[in-house]
């Protein structure tokens, strides 16, 4: 069955691929758009149908593809009965919803977006039910939360829609977080994240001390998703969504995801007292509470929403019983509920669409005006009430039968009584849906004159009601599916059962009769009960939720403001103190070993260098308000640090430091041009003292730590030896630093050059936006005009920089080529070339240089990243992982044997990226000083040497003019 198994990832992928198209095809019209959305769904259904016979024969189809095997994350899919049922529901009802939504959405609604969101959601749901890896399942789980957020908030102009979407996302998202934790615990207990493996380890899981935490966390996730008490409140608010969304997400699919997972985990989690008391009790409470609230809702969709909550509670309770027959009943009710509830939502949507109201108080008598809708709604509602010959009756009987012999905490009557009460209210609100909406006299005051809609709109609910009746009359047609599904839930042999209408005079039948009679009675006194219910005080979930959300917002705003109110010195102080405290804590932990090395002797010149560093730092402290002087002192520090790198045998670092130093100084000088030249005093003396103490402590701590590390031993064995050993044999280079950069840690470097490129682009974007805003106006006002002494583009400098250019480029090439074996490499070469280019900018001016710059720096960055990327991809063609390097030796006769390594191509990427990033940053900063209307020099320098005589002539004339004056 391997060949059929390959359909599984295709089924899951189909909606995601399909989601790309509706947004495009809407241009071709609404019908085409809807058909585009239907095609991937239909294809997926066809593939599922091909798989179905094998699954119904008891096979389990599997597909497996390693993704990140080291993390236990694999793209594993499997299809058993449970997966088949849910995938069928999701895709089958999905296609009906696509049809229904085509007619439901008005011309003003962006239909392309709707179908895109819907297909995204559909794909995520199918992914959940087919996943054989719980990490993969969690990814799809989160995707359903996100895509349902988009769907619920589809009508962006409605505040209820946006708030409902946010509430749904918050609740299900937090449930998802708990679920992740629970699943990870489960995976850890078993030692595998593969669902099929987990399902075989019931004893290990239930014996583990972590069973209860894992169970609780997973259940929180399931309950939040399936709107179980006390998380039920989000579902009614999500009803602000368009009705197709409610029918799809909130009756048939998303809210069933929690049930699906409980059913999926049933073999390993169920059967313990904890499971029974948590799950069954929650289900029972939810069922009764939802049913009671539903009866008193006047909004059609709110009524249906709470009835959904109630029915989900019913299924949860059945799963909680933990017996195989209860699982059969749960599976059967999942099918039945999906059919009648989706149909009911769609009829509610039709009523809303035609009568322009969903308020039951404004409806009634629609039977005469909308006979087809009435027929569909009545059959579906009667099925929901559990009236014989409809499918709801069958599963409700089975539920009551199971409830009848369930003992809760020693009490044999509690569960049956409450279950009957739930059923009673269920009957009452189902009847209310029929009686108060469709029966009674025709009214004259509907907001819009209702009539039956087009066939396209009632086709989908009509089809579902056909199923309701078919299963209700001939339960045997559903039996194979129920049997296979329940077998998959239970994970073993099922006891004997048969789906039939007449079971004899069982307790369940009496309970059912009580429920129907009682329900009718309750409805008859509804007009008496309703005002009292409305007057009764009760907690409003939305207000509580909003209050919690508001408190959380206030708290986080307070925390953020306290830590980071925009003052850099405050933030730095808090950060420094926190780090020092953490360091002290770690230090007192006693992990640091005693010093094992002798300090080196201090030679005279290094001592002088040290003195220079210390004096310069002190100098910066004293003169820090004079910013130019501080920059000069920084130059000294940079120089000494470069020398120190040489002294401590790090020539690569020294080369980098020397070139970075130049670029830094130029960048800072460019920036300083826009800043005050003198820092004003802003803090009080007390605060300065405090900051001084913090800074001093930080400096001393870092110095102490460095000293301890230099004299001590590493806690772990150093990896330096590995790099030294493998540099030449593995990477083909003798310069370990460069081989680490382009080979051992090539992936890091790849990420770093991308970050570098992004940083440069951000500088560019920021400077552009500054120029467009108030900053640009300030710059244009000419306040920046500082002293303009000397020549603008002195001849000497122009000539010197022109001469320097080829030399610097040659040095760059030399440093680049030798990089693999001697100090050097693409990074340093890039900096050197960038410096040579900046020289031209400084000498002949921005405009002159830009006019000669044919490739934009953005492109250089992109080329660099792409060069590195393609080098990495190239390894795939050799059948090796991304960025695996290779090298070989080539002999071209007149030359000596030389080495060619793929790492060199990668290094070219680094080189280009560095040039692009440095130049773009400089370019952006210096372009800020450009002002509109400024003269642009066409010539490289102030004086044109070729036209000396003319220049002399003007000079003489000027002198003459001076004399005359």
């Amino acid at each position: 069955m391997e060949s059929i198994g390959t359909f599984l990832p295709l089924i899951a992928m189909m909606p995601f691929v399909g989601a790309l198209f509706p947004g495009l095809m809407i241009q071709a019209g609404r019908n085409v758009c809807a058909m585009t959305a239907a095609v991937p769904t239909i294809l997926a259904i066809i593939m599922l149908t091909i798989c179905a016979p094998a699954v119904l024969d008891g096979e389990v189809l599997q597909f497996s593809l390693p993704w990140l095997p080291s993390l236990g994350l694999n793209v594993n899919f499997f299809l058993d009965g449970l997966g088949l049922l849910f995938a069928g529901l999701i895709l089958g009802i999905g296609i009906l919803i696509i049809l229904y939504a085509r007619f439901y959405l008005s011309r003003q609604d962006p239909m392309g977006q709707f179908y895109t969101y819907l297909l995204l959601f559909q794909g995520a749901m199918v992914g959940i039910v087919l996943s054989d890896n719980i990490l993969l399942l969690l990814i799809f789980w989160e995707l359903t939360s996100l895509s349902s957020f988009l769907l619920i908030g589809y009508w962006k102009h409605l505040p209820e829609g946006r708030q409902g979407a946010r509430m749904a996302l918050t609740v299900t998202g937090m449930g998802g977080l708990a679920m992740i934790a629970g699943m990870l615990i489960l995976g850890n207990i078993v030692g595998s994240y593969d669902l099929t493996v987990i399902l075989e380890n019931k004893d290990a899981i239930q014996a583990s001390p972590l069973y209860l935490p894992a169970l609780l966390l997973i259940l929180v996730g399931c309950f939040a998703k399936s709107a179980q008490f006390p998380f039920h409140f989000w579902l009614p608010h999500a009803m602000a969504a368009p009705t197709p969304v409610s029918a799809y997400l909130h009756s048939a699919t998303m809210v069933k995801a929690g049930l699906f997972l409980m059913a999926r985990m049933w073999p390993v989690l169920a059967g313990t007292p904890e499971w029974f008391y948590i799950v069954a009790t929650t289900g029972l409470i939810t069922m009764v509470l939802g049913a009671v609230i539903a009866l008193f809702k006047d909004d059609l969709k709110a009524l249906l929403a709470f009835s959904t909550v109630s029915h989900l509670g019913l299924i949860t309770m059945l799963l909680g019983f933990g017996t195989p027959l209860a699982a059969v009943a749960a599976v059967f009710h999942i099918i039945n509920h999906a059919t009648f509830k989706a149909a009911l939502f769609m009829t509610a949507g039709i009523v809303d669409h035609e009568a322009h109201t969903r308020d039951i108080k404004r409806l009634g008598g629609l039977r005469h005006l909308m006979p087809i809708t009435f027929l569909i709604a009545m059959l579906a509602a009667l099925s929901m009430a559990g009236i014989p010959l409809l499918n709801g009756f069958l599963s409700k009987e089975m539920m009551l039968e199971e409830a009848a012999h369930t003992v809760w905490a020693g009490s044999p009557w509690l569960v049956p009584a409450l279950a009957t009460l739930g059923a009673l209210f269920s009957v009452a609100y189902s009847f209310r849906y029929i009686v108060h909406v469709f029966l009674g006299d025709v009214r004259q005051d509907y907001p819009s004159k209702p009539h039956d809609p087009d066939f396209g709109m009632w086709a989908a609910p009509g089809f579902l009601v056909l199923l309701v009746v078919l299963i209700g009359v001939l339960p045997a047609v559903a039996e194979p599916l129920v049997r296979t599904t329940a077998g998959a839930v239970v994970g073993g042999e099922l006891p004997y059962f048969s789906l039939k209408i007449w079971h004899g005079l069982t307790p369940a039948l009496f309970m059912s009769a009580i429920a129907v009679a009682g329900g009718a009675l309750v409805l008859s006194i509804h007009s008496v009960l309703a005002p009292r219910w409305d007057a009764a005080p009760r907690p409003e979930a939305k207000q509580i939720f909003d209050a919690i959300a508001r408190t959380a917002t206030v708290f986080s705003r307070w925390l953020t403001d306290m830590l980071h109110n925009g003052s850099l010195s405050r933030f730095a102080a808090i950060f420094a103190v926190a780090v020092i405290a953490a360091g002290l804590f770690a230090w007192t932990g006693g992990e640091a070993g005693p010093p094992v090395r002798e300090p080196l002797e201090i030679a005279a010149v290094p001592a002088i260098a040290w003195a220079l560093l210390v004096l310069c730092s002190l100098g910066m402290l004293v003169f820090h308000r004079n910013r130019l002087l501080v920059l000069i002192l920084m130059g000294v520090v940079g120089l000494i640090v470069s020398l120190a790198f040489i002294y401590f045998s790090a020539p690569d670092l020294a080369l980098t430091q020397i070139s970075v130093e130049v670029v830094t100084i130029i960048l800072l000088l460019l920036a300083l041009n826009f800043l005050p030249k003198v820092s004003p005093k802003e803090s009080s003396p007390g605060r300065r003292l405090r900051d001084g103490v913090v800074a001093g402590a930080g400096g001393l701590a870092v110095a102490g730590l460095t000293y301890a590390i230099l004299l001590g031993d590493f806690a772990q064995e150093s990896i330096s030896a590995f790099h030294l050993e493998n540099s030449y044999s593995g990477g083909g280079g003798t310069n370990v630093v460069n081989v680490i950069l382009v080979d051992f840690r090539g992936y890091d470097t790849f990420g770093e050059i991308i970050v570098l490129g992004i940083a440069a682009l951000v500088i560019y974007a920021l400077s552009q936006s500054v120029l467009g805003g108030a900053g640009g106006r300030w710059l244009a006002s000419g306040e920046l005009d500082s002293k303009k002494a000397g020549d603008r583009h002195p001849l000497m400098m122009v000539i010197a920089s022109r001469v320097m250019m080829p030399i610097a480029l040659m040095a760059g090439v030399y440093i680049f080529l030798r990089g693999h074996n001697e100090p050097g490499g693409g990074f340093i070469a890039g900096l050197v070339v960038a410096i040579a280019l900046v020289m031209q900018y400084m000498a002949s001016g921005f405009a002159w240089a830009v006019a000669r710059q044919r490739v934009p720096y953005h492109t250089t960055i992109a080329l660099g990243v792409m060069a590195a990327c393609f080098t990495g991809v190239g390894a795939w063609f050799a059948g090796r992982p991304f960025l695996t390097s290779d090298f070989g030796y080539v002999t071209i006769p007149p030359l000596e044997k030389f080495e060619l390594a793929t790492a060199m191509a990668f290094d070219i990427g680094v080189f280009l990226c560095v040039i692009g990033a440095v130049m773009l940053a400089l370019d952006s900063l210096s372009s800020m000083a450009r002002r509109a209307g400024e003269t642009v020099n066409q010539l490289p320098m102030d004086i044109d040497p070729a036209r000396r005589s003319v220049a002399n002539a003007t000079d003489k004339m000027a002198v003459a003019a001076g004399k005359e004056a």
Partner: protein, 89 residues
């Protein structure tokens, strides 16, 4: 013999660095400070050369080449800033 010459040279350039620093911190004008920094770069190049002789290796020559090639650029930039404000006009 070379040993004593080296010690003498190291002493001279080390002392020169200290004097450069004095000029940077205590100077009549900013121009003097910039020039002192430039001299410091020159002295450093000399120190690198001496260190290479002491160790008998050429591995530090690239660093001194790079310093020679780029060191004056900072000086130019400081000076342009002083004279024109905007170093890339």
């Amino acid at each position: 013999m070379i040993h004593y010459a080296l010690i003498f040279a190291f002493a001279c350039f080390g002392l020169a660095l200290l004097m450069n620093l004095y000029r940077i911190i205590e100077a009549p004008g900013v121009g003097d400070r910039i020039l002192a920094l430039d001299t410091m770069v020159v002295n450093s190049i000399a120190l690198l050369g001496l260190y290479g002789i002491l160790r008998g290796t050429t591995v530090y020559f690239e660093a001194s080449m790079l310093l020679a090639m780029t060191g004056f650029i900072s000086t130019v930039a400081y000076t342009r800033f002083l004279l024109r404000g905007d170093i890339i006009e």
